[in-house]
Structure formats: structure tokens, C-alpha cells
Amino acid sequence: MSSSTEWPLWEVFVRSRRGLSHTHAGSLHAPDAEMALRNARDLYTRRSEGVSIWVVPSAQVTASSPDEKDSFFEPAGDKPYRHPTFYEIPEGVKHL
């Protein structure tokens, strides 16, 4: 199959249960969004892994570049005061 006739790529996000956010599960090929959703159901939620699915065309994802890794992520490393580590987590809070 040549690349010009191959179906476009989609990224799949699955919410595993209520209260959690969607997380990236993987990607798949499909001719359009409707079919992508169905394929995602078959590929990623067959063992009751999810209660909700999002599909996004991979071409629409803007990603950070590995070349900019240092300027993007390095400055965060030595600033512990940016992390909420000085609080006690109240009892009964589950998804923090």
C-alpha cells in the first residue's frame, strides 16, 4: 500500500473511569473520525479499559521539539517551591 492511499493516522485518548482525565492510549489508521472512534473501541477498550474515547487527527497535534528540550524543561528542575509538596493531603482525596 503506498502512502498516498493509506488512511490517515489518529491519536486515541481513553478515559478509564469517571473522574479521571483522558490519557493517550495509542494511535491507529482510519478513513475518518467516525471510523477512528469505532476502531479505537475495538483496539483499546475491549477489556473494559474505558468509559469514554477521544480521537484526534495526528496531523493536528503540535509537539514540542527535542532540540528545544533544554530551554523548555530544564529551568523547572531546581525550583522545588513550584511543587505543592508543603501541604498535607487531606484524607479521602483520591485522584490527586
Partner: protein
């Protein structure tokens, strides 16, 4: 017993046919979709055949004439359009059939209620592909129409009453015809002609008479078990 075997064999045989697509489907995603449908059907078949006796013995050691499935489900996969047509015809039958069973008081009520959700997805999958192929390119339209025409003669058998099933067969048939003709119409496909636009019947699968490709199919399905009785891994 008759009814249990009829339902169980329909599920088992169609499951095996769909399983034959593994390694051959047009795209990987579709291969998984067909295998999922096959596994749903296999689950139904196991429950049903266990109600009738030993599931392995029934699946692997019966002769061709002892199977009670309709001839529609044993038809070879053909091209992808052919497989989708078979699935469309069968799921449009199985869904209202199991809905009726689920609301009745028979021994099938429990498993039918569970299976109805699976079958609803099978039907949705088949309808989507029917629309895409029928209303797609000239070639996909022609292939889909060919499938619709070729399998039509096996659909009459679906509505022959089965002993032991408390079913309103007339309404089952009208439900089936309504949903199938609505999809074919939207897919720009032509409903084949037949008595009252209903299906003309060719099959006697419920009586154990099967079409020629079925013998080869069960030979392959039963080969391993017959060569190595009781083998497990």
C-alpha cells in the same frame, strides 16, 4: 435441544468464518474488529452449546449433518463486501431475535439479554460498512450489490420457526426487512426482488442440510481436535 443447537451453531459457525479473516483482512484495524465480533459470537456459542451438552464434543465431534445452523452463516467469506453483507443480514436477524428472547421467560432470556448489546454493535459495524461501500466508489458499490444479491437467497430460512423458541416470527421478519431495506436504500443499493420483496428461501440448514463449502469449513475447524483428542495447551 433443537432450539439450543440452532442458536449455538449459528454463533459458532459464523464465529469461525469471521476468524478466517485473521491475517487476511484489508487493514489491521478491521482485522481486529472482525476478530472481536468473532469472539463475541464464540462466547455466545460456548454458553449455548454448554446448555446442550459438552461444548467440545458438540463443536468438534459432530458430523456435518448434525449441525443446525442456517446456511447463511456457513457461506464462505468471499470478498470483504460479501462478508459485510453476511454480517448485515445475520445481525439484523439476531438482534430482534435475541430482544424477543430476552423479554421472554425461557432459559435463553439471561444470555440473550447480555448478547443483545454485543449484537447491536455487530449490526452497527455492518451497517456502517454497507453505507461506505454501497455509497463509495463504483467498484465498492458493484461489489456490495453483488454480495447483497448473492446472499439474498439464504435469508428466507432465517424466519422458518424453530421448535422450542417462543418467537413472533412474523414481526421478526418485518423488523428484519425494515432495517435491512432502510440501510440498503441509504447505501444506494437495490433490495433484491423476491416474494413480497421478502426473501425467497433456499436453505434447510436447520434440518442438517448444508451447502458444499460447509464440509470443508468444519473439516478445518475439527481437524486439530480429531487428530489430538483432548489436547490442551
Amino acid at each position: 435441544m433443537t432450539a439450543t443447537l440452532a442458536l449455538g451453531d449459528d454463533a459458532l459457525v459464523l464465529s469461525h468464518r469471521l476468524g478466517e479473516w485473521a491475517g487476511h483482512a484489508p487493514v489491521l484495524e478491521e482485522e481486529v474488529a472482525l476478530a472481536n465480533i468473532a469472539l463475541d459470537l464464540l462466547g455466545q456459542a460456548r454458553l449455548l452449546l454448554s446448555m446442550a451438552g459438552d461444548e467440545d464434543e458438540l463443536a468438534y465431534l459432530r458430523e456435518e449433518r448434525a449441525f443446525r445452523n442456517v446456511q447463511l452463516v456457513e457461506q464462505p467469506n468471499g470478498d470483504f463486501a460479501h462478508t459485510i453483507t453476511r454480517q448485515l443480514y445475520f445481525s439484523a436477524y439476531q438482534r430482534p431475535l435475541y430482544e424477543q428472547l430476552a423479554s421472554g421467560g425461557s432459559a435463553f432470556a439471561g444470555l440473550a439479554a447480555k448478547a443483545v448489546k454485543e449484537v447491536a454493535y455487530h449490526q452497527d459495524h455492518a451497517e456502517h460498512w454497507t453505507l461506505r461501500l454501497g455509497d463509495g466508489t463504483d467498484e465498492s458499490h458493484d461489489r456490495m450489490q453483488r454480495g447483497v444479491d448473492a446472499l439474498w437467497r439464504f435469508t428466507g430460512e432465517l424466519f422458518e420457526p424453530v421448535e422450542g423458541l417462543e418467537i413472533d416470527w412474523r414481526s421478526l421478519r418485518s423488523d428484519w426487512l425494515e432495517s435491512v431495506s432502510a440501510v440498503l436504500d441509504r447505501a444506494t443499493l437495490t433490495l433484491p426482488a423476491g416474494p413480497q420483496s421478502g426473501a425467497w428461501t433456499a436453505g434447510a440448514g436447520r434440518q442438517g442440510i448444508h451447502t458444499e463449502p460447509f464440509g470443508r469449513m468444519i473439516a478445518e475447524m475439527q481437524h486439530l481436535h480429531r487428530s489430538h483428542p483432548g489436547a490442551s495447551w
